[in-house]
């Protein structure tokens, strides 16, 4: 059993499982974000619940663990893969036998997403702490910070780029996870591909809508 995880297939299992977990997280996070359209109260109360709810601690620890495991294993395998070819080809495969750019660049996509997540946490989770009072209870006014941040064109542009990268990563990542976990089969292949594409596009559209909406239709006062 211990040996099982030391071979690349076992490690790929873990990358796939943690990847699927993270894919579920990005969907839920995106759905939560959409509350911005329901106004500041709904958004702030939801975010408060996410951080202070009973399960929040366990969810955050689980997320961090999945994230770290996914990154460490992917890095480890990427280094190993890099060294499995000592001399590079003078010409790259072309046409039918070529490897798609988005499949070659997974680790770089991951690096961009990692930088994005760190900056995202600094900006929002550990960013300016505004307060707001709802029915006598003082909670964090994250809504105000979000509106403030997405007035900056550079921030909006960076979010759009990073989210596009996430979309590409999700698309290949989902198909790849099913394959790594041995779940792909001639009968479901068509649907796995369609589902992965739909999922990646749906999640990205949902995310992208927030900064774009704030940038074009809201002012700093939140109106």
């Amino acid at each position: 059993m211990r040996k099982w995880f030391f071979l690349s297939i076992g490690q790929k299992y873990l990358i796939g499982l943690t990847g699927l977990g993270l894919a579920l997280f990005v969907l839920l996070h995106m759905l939560g974000n959409l509350l911005i359209f329901a106004g500041d109260k709904a958004y702030n109360l939801y975010m408060h619940q996410m951080v202070h709810g009973k399960a929040a601690f366990f969810i955050q620890v689980g997320l961090l663990a999945a994230f770290l495991l996914h990154i460490i294993l992917a890095l480890f395998l990427s280094v190993k893969n890099y060294f499995s070819r000592s001399e590079k080809y003078a010409r790259q495969a072309s046409g039918w036998k070529a490897t798609a750019w988005y499949q070659k660049s997974l680790i770089f996509q991951g690096a961009i997403i990692l930088v994005f997540v760190v900056l995202h946490l600094i900006t929002f989770k550990f960013g300016t702490y505004y307060e707001v009072v709802y029915e006598g209870k003082t909670i964090r006014n994250l809504f105000q910070l979000v509106v403030e941040e997405f007035q900056k064109p550079v921030t909006v542009l960076w979010y759009l780029i990073a989210l596009l990268v996430l979309c590409v990563h999700l698309f290949h990542g989902l198909i790849s996870s099913f394959q790594s976990l041995g779940l792909s089969h001639p009968r479901f292949d068509f649907w796995i591909k369609k589902l992965s594409f739909g999922y990646a596009v749906f999640v990205t559209m949902g995310y992208v809508s927030l900064p774009l909406y704030v940038f074009f239709f809201m002012t700093e006062k939140g109106g």
Binding site: M1, K3, W4, L7, S8, I9, G10, Q11, K12, Y13, L77, K80, N81, F83, S84, R85, S86, E87, K88, Y89, A90, R91, Q92, A93, S94, G95, W96, K97, A98, T99, A100, Q103, K104, L106, H172, I175, S176, Q179, S180, L181, G182, L183, S184, H185, P186
Partner: protein, 245 residues
């Protein structure tokens, strides 16, 4: 037709090599790619130069000996065929063609375009067999095999072990090769008995040889002269998972 060849030359026992230019004129488009190399070697021998070393045997796409990377594509540009089935009509007159050996840490270059693929033999030795008592061939109908299973097993058994999957993979992974063997034997009743131990032993040996891990790009299956399906890797992953229990 005229072709401008850039061929990887590497002396036996040396770790470094380089490309050398050769121009071949008056070639027939109906010549096979390997016949062109034969012609080149005859010319080189005539000029008292060292001929280009390359692997070949059956020249009908079933032995898995030929192992050239042509303009970056293992076995050339066409799907489902080996270098020996490639003809000059697939190229344009005066085209520049880069010919390289399969490149992978586990496939060291022996000379020019010949690589040592004995890593595959060691993977086979580690588990791609069934332990049966030899003797008289058993009655064929004594072990029943479902037609669909037999067909699927045969589609995996079609692997000729050429190593194009390793050559084209960005990670130089041997997953498709190992998966083809694992799937072929796991599907048949004779191979089922040892399937748990087999998958572990073969995957372990694959890693020991220095092949990379699978990133599910599918390039291996597209470069495979026998078009082994990527589903074999999914099956290997399933078999690997089941081997814990």
């Amino acid at each position: 037709m005229l072709l401008k060849l850039k061929i990887w030359r590497q002396k036996r026992g040396q770790k470094k090599g380089s490309f050398e230019n050769y121009e071949m004129d008056h070639l027939s488009p109906d010549m096979s790619f390997l016949e062109m190399l034969d012609q080149l070697n005859e010319d080189l021998v005539g000029q008292k130069k060292v001929p280009v070393a390359f692997d070949h045997d059956c020249r009908e796409g079933i032995c898995g000996s030929c192992s050239l990377v042509i303009n970056g594509n293992p076995h050339g540009p066409h799907a489902g065929s080996a270098v020996c089935q490639l003809h000059l009509r697939s190229f344009k007159d005066k085209e520049e063609i880069w010919i390289e050996p399969f490149r992978a840490k586990a496939f060291p270059v022996l000379q020019d375009l010949i690589v040592d693929r004995s890593a595959f033999d060691r993977i086979i030795q580690s588990g791609a067999y069934v332990s049966v008592n030899t003797g008289q061939a058993p009655e064929a109908h004594s072990i029943l095999v479902e037609k669909a299973k037999a067909e699927e097993a045969f589609s995996h058994a079609a692997c000729i072990g050429c190593g194009a999957c390793v050559a084209v993979c960005k990670n130089a992974s041997a997953s498709l090769f190992v998966a083809a063997k694992v799937s072929h034997l796991a599907l048949l009743p004779q191979g089922k008995v040892e399937k748990k131990a087999r998958v572990l032993k073969m995957v372990k040996q694959m890693e020991k040889e220095g092949f990379g891990a699978c990133t599910n790009t599918g390039a291996c299956s597209r470069a495979c002269p026998k078009e082994i399906s990527l589903h074999s890797i999914a099956r290997m992953n399933r078999e690997y998972f089941k081997s814990i229990f």
